[in-house]
Amino acid sequence: MRARLSSYAVVLLALVMVGGLYTAFAAPKPKADAGTTGDFAVSQGRQLYLQGCSTCHGLANQGGAGGPSLVGVGASAVVFQVSTGRMPLANGAAQAPRKKQKYDRDQIDQLAAYIQSIGGGPTVPSGSLSDGDLALGGDLFRTNCSSCHNFAGAGGALTRSKYAPALKKATAEEIYTAMQSGPENMPRFSDNTLSPDEKRAIVKYVRFITNENKDPGGAALGHYGPIPEGLVIFLVGIGALIVVTLWIGARA
């Protein structure tokens, strides 16, 4: 009886030791790899690409009727397009709208690694994106961005149903990668046009006006400028005062 119990204990110990050793030596390897960098990521990304992207962008990444070749667009374009849900494209509207993300973060990184591997291009920025120079960012934003995205990042219309989207939902990484890759109708701002520090400054300012700005004057009216202000003065101002005149008139 004792012998049987001890043999169980030995087997159990052995199992625990083997499991522990396996965990200690084998487990970290796939985790560090998790498929986001290196050859494994590239091959995983290629698989994802063939399944989800190649219909439009081509099996050999040659591009086609549905979408352009992705050679040379770089990881940054992939991260922007896929993390904002713009890709995969739902339908051929004038412009791809922001929608629910279809791939998880690891898959996005794998796709990005694959696209990066086939032709290089801008890569996703490393390090903090929240330490830019706010005032410099404001000046650069007004010069380079506000003519389409509006002074407060509320978005604006372009020709024929195209538009510069509102920036409130854009994360710091999305703002940065958008500048790098120039999605849709947006121009590309290479590091020669806007240095990484200037891009960080713009990111800082955009996040400030869209998410930290408290609008000290009260209701922001959508940050659309004088048009909603005009509507308010007629609907609220004149409207309320006509009610008042009716009230005073009725008491005469």
Binding site: D139, G218, I227, A240, V244
Partner: protein, 527 residues
């Protein structure tokens, strides 16, 4: 039984009266009668918002610096720290973030400016649709239109002063509009701006124009406007006891004074509420003016919006001849069009009098339905104006409703010419219909719901007459007065009618119920 205070009061009054002889004037003024109608108070909104503008504007002048001198910002708003800007913009930021009560004063001032213009337009519509501009009040109509135009200029000057990105964009457009004047354009623009845009002079020049010159002009015009109302007396709607030669209403003191005083505070209250709750022109987000920057959604304040709209709808026609460029694409929508529109508006009373041959005095107002052509012309003009106004916001509409800005522009170009005639026809038909409904009501009477059987076996429907306060009002034209005089129901019973004495176009006061002799034929049926 007089108290000491009363003695002092009476003594002071006597002292003043002995020297100025003013008691007669005061007595006459206080007992002057002003007719009661809600729509007569729309002009007052403009007056009261002007007072709010003067008060809030005075506060702002204490802190504003009307100078384009360049400074480096070092104030409380961090996102602009270290940015070069004009002293005008810097002082506006200081007013917004550092001066106690500065931001709410700025916002009240701006909202009051929008309200001033809006109430002028609404008041103008009331005067137009009721024919209050007819002889002898054509001059006051002219003054009113001048007030509208000076208000427009004043508003534009104020919009330009903070020297933020929106101000500068507006001034840039104003400069281009001046350039489009044939032959003189360049010189006019150089003269006003002190050289090639931006010139470095315009803020310094606009400041005294905005705080002294135009407000003084507006104040003078308002005074003249009110004096004429005082002297010519206010118009009134027709009603029992109201004629072309009298005024029925409340005395200036105390009833009217109490109403007007209370209304002033309500207007002030609405301005304060808007100023405190709704952000207007957040100049810190626009940033300082820089000629290389233009934001999407740059729009003028609403009262200039129709000109922005006309420019957006105008095809891009530009001619080059004899070594010069002519720009009808800018000249027509921004100068020819408003010139024609304001000329038509100004001279409308004279045009109408000429076309109708009506040279009589009019102190009783028209109901809009009784003048179908005028009402239809008015609605037609409003439709034209509103299409232009909508066009001024075509980019915002495209952005919010996910539409193509090109399609909006094409649609509005068509609408500008198609909708006004349609509006004219529909309004005219509508007015004629309403007139007929009135006539029918007066001739037929109001159905009481009682059917009576006569001894002969015949069934008759019982109707009741329209009470006097209705029928007098309906009888605004001579023909219809005659029609009503011959109405079979002139002496009929008027009991069953619901009492609605306080409506939009109905005079107030108790319902007048005439007791008429009973119908002889019906009498026979009573057992």
């Amino acid at each position: 039984m007089t108290t000491a205070a009363e003695k002092v009061g009476a003594g002071t009054a006597t002292w003043v009266d002995d020297r100025l002889g003013s008691s007669n004037f005061v007595k006459r003024s206080l007992t002057k009668v002003f007719p009661d109608h809600w729509s007569f108070m729309l002009g007052e909104i403009a007056l009261y918002s002007f007072i709010v503008l003067l008060l809030s504007g005075t506060y702002l002048t204490l802190f504003f610096e009307g100078s384009s001198r360049e400074v480096i910002y070092n104030g409380a708003y961090l996102p602009l720290k270290g940015i070069p800007m004009s002293a005008a913009y810097e002082s506006t930021l200081r007013i917004s973030f550092e001066v106690r009560g500065g931001l709410i004063m700025r916002q009240i001032h701006h909202w009051a400016a929008l309200l001033f213009m809006a109430s002028i337009v609404v008041h103008l519509m009331r005067v137009f649709f009721t024919g209050a501009f007819r002889k002898p009040r054509e001059l006051n109509w002219l003054i009113g239109v001048l007030l509208l135009i000076t208000g427009l200029l004043e508003g534009f000057a104020g919009y330009s002063l903070p020297d933020d990105l929106l101000s500068g964009t507006g001034l840039r457009i104003a400069y281009s509009i001046m350039l489009s004047i044939p032959v003189l354009g360049t010189w006019v623009a150089f003269l006003l701006f002190g050289g090639e845009y931006p010139g470095g002079q315009i803020i310094e020049r606009l400041y005294p124009v905005h705080i002294l010159l135009i407000p003084g002009l507006i104040l003078g015009l308002i005074t003249f406007h009110m004096m004429l109302i005082w002297y010519q007396k206010h118009t009134q709607f027709a009603g029992p006891g109201r004629t072309e030669d009298n005024v029925v209403g409340s005395k200036i003191y105390p009833a009217y004074a109490a109403k007007a005083g209370g209304f002033f505070f309500l207007v002030f209250g609405v301005m304060a509420a808007l100023g405190g709750l709704a952000q207007i022109n957040p100049i810190w987000l626009y940033g300082p003016y820089d000629p290389s920057q233009v934001s999407a959604g740059s729009q003028p304040d609403w009262y200039i919006g129709f000109l922005d709209g006309s420019t957006r709808l105008m095809p891009n026609w530009e001619l080059r001849a004899l070594g010069h460029t002519f720009s009808p694409n800018v000249l027509v929508p921004t100068q020819v069009l408003p010139g024609v529109l304001f000329a038509l508006l100004m001279f409308y009373p004279f045009i109408e009098a000429k076309l109708t041959g009506d040279k009589g005095y009019h102190n009783l107002l028209d109901r809009p339905r009784d003048k179908p052509v005028r009402t239809a012309l008015g609605v037609m003009s409003i439709t034209f104006y509103v299409v232009l106004l909508i066009a001024g916001g075509n980019d915002i509409i495209a952005n919010i409703f996910h539409l193509s800005i090109n399609e909006i522009t094409y649609t509005l170009r068509t609408a500008l010419f198609v909708l006004p005639p349609i509006a004219y026809v529909i309004t005219k038909r509508f007015c004629l219909s309403l007139q007929r409904a009135d006539d029918e009501l007066i001739h037929h009477g109001i159905e009481s719901g009682t059917i009576r059987r006569l001894p002969s076996g015949e069934f008759v429907e019982e109707t009741v007459a329209v009470p006097a306060h209705y029928s007098v009002l309906m009888a605004t034209s001579d023909e219809r007065r005659a029609a009503i005089a011959h109405s079979e129901h002139e002496h009929a019973v008027a009991a069953a009618l619901p009492t609605r004495p306080r409506g939009f176009f109905r005079p107030k006061g108790g319902v007048i119920v005439e007791q008429a002799p009973a119908d002889k034929e019906l009498e026979g049926t009573v057992d």
